[in-house]
Point group: C2
Chain length 159, copies 2
Amino acid sequence: MLDRMDRKILDILQKDCTLPVAEIGKQIGLSTTPCWRRIQKLEEQGVIERRVALLDPKKVNVGVTVFVSITTSNHTKEWLERFHAALEDFPEVVEFYRMSGQIDYLLRVVVPDIERYDTFYKRLISKIELYDVSSAFAMEQIKFTTALPLDYAAEERRP
Amino acid sequence: MLDRMDRKILDILQKDCTLPVAEIGKQIGLSTTPCWRRIQKLEEQGVIERRVALLDPKKVNVGVTVFVSITTSNHTKEWLERFHAALEDFPEVVEFYRMSGQIDYLLRVVVPDIERYDTFYKRLISKIELYDVSSAFAMEQIKFTTALPLDYAAEERRP
DNA sequence: CGGAATATGGAAAAATAATCTACCTATTCT
DNA sequence: AGAATAGGTAGATTATTTTTCCATATTCCG
């Protein structure tokens, strides 16, 4: 269970993990040591998975996001494994979900432009057979955050 | 332009931004000071936007991802602003795109379970009028990374 | 109830890392 | 040749993390 202090710490670290522990402590009303211990514990428990640098997509030339909906007719274990492995190899695929409903899989792909998406697409379908692929282009990224809501963490988690 | 060294640095920092500069330097074959200077520059240029802690979604009780496709009939400026503002207020909405094609907007929403999604959905439609809303549930998050591909950053970026 | 065990908070010191400066060298470009 | 760029070393300074030691609650049994 995460108490109010833990959630305050996580709230801060999800926005900026460069702040000194002493500063975080000050913000939440805790001295350095207990604040530091809580952070350690959150890391041990795996609540904090890691700390990473976030880059500006445009500045690394991947300003275009495409959502790719995939349907497959092949549901064998062997195909699935090849599919997963294939997508791991594409750094352009930044998110990959197995879905319920009509669509089997959903990808979020980042590329510099539409031409490059086409190149990616060709490489994808040459690597693995897919029944149906449909691409939807994002015109604008209005919101993107890695900060998860913490309100639900106050309750007991389902097992 | 980002040269090979910059990309190596970014590659490391996208995975783990807690490493000491000296250690990063060692990994890429650069002494501390020039490595440090490059990181400073990448931050000034805004290539590195910020450094954040990533949490385990399940451990903060938001293990369920839902993609929400929204179509609207209202395209006035006033409606748009209210729409954007409304979604900013929902911490469950972690991604929000304006799309081309049939669907106008796409959201990624994180919640603890389907019941909670329903609660979210009701709050959403009570806040703003939407023409059509369609929800697709992710059964499994197979891949999720904040690390952008860096191969395209080697080229000149379009203005 | 008393007291051990546990959890939590705090102060201060020790260890580590970041930051910044100065100066030197090699390479490239004009 | 001279300017500009990039890397290197060394050292001083500051900032931060990590550890140690201690105090205070709170809980849980016998």
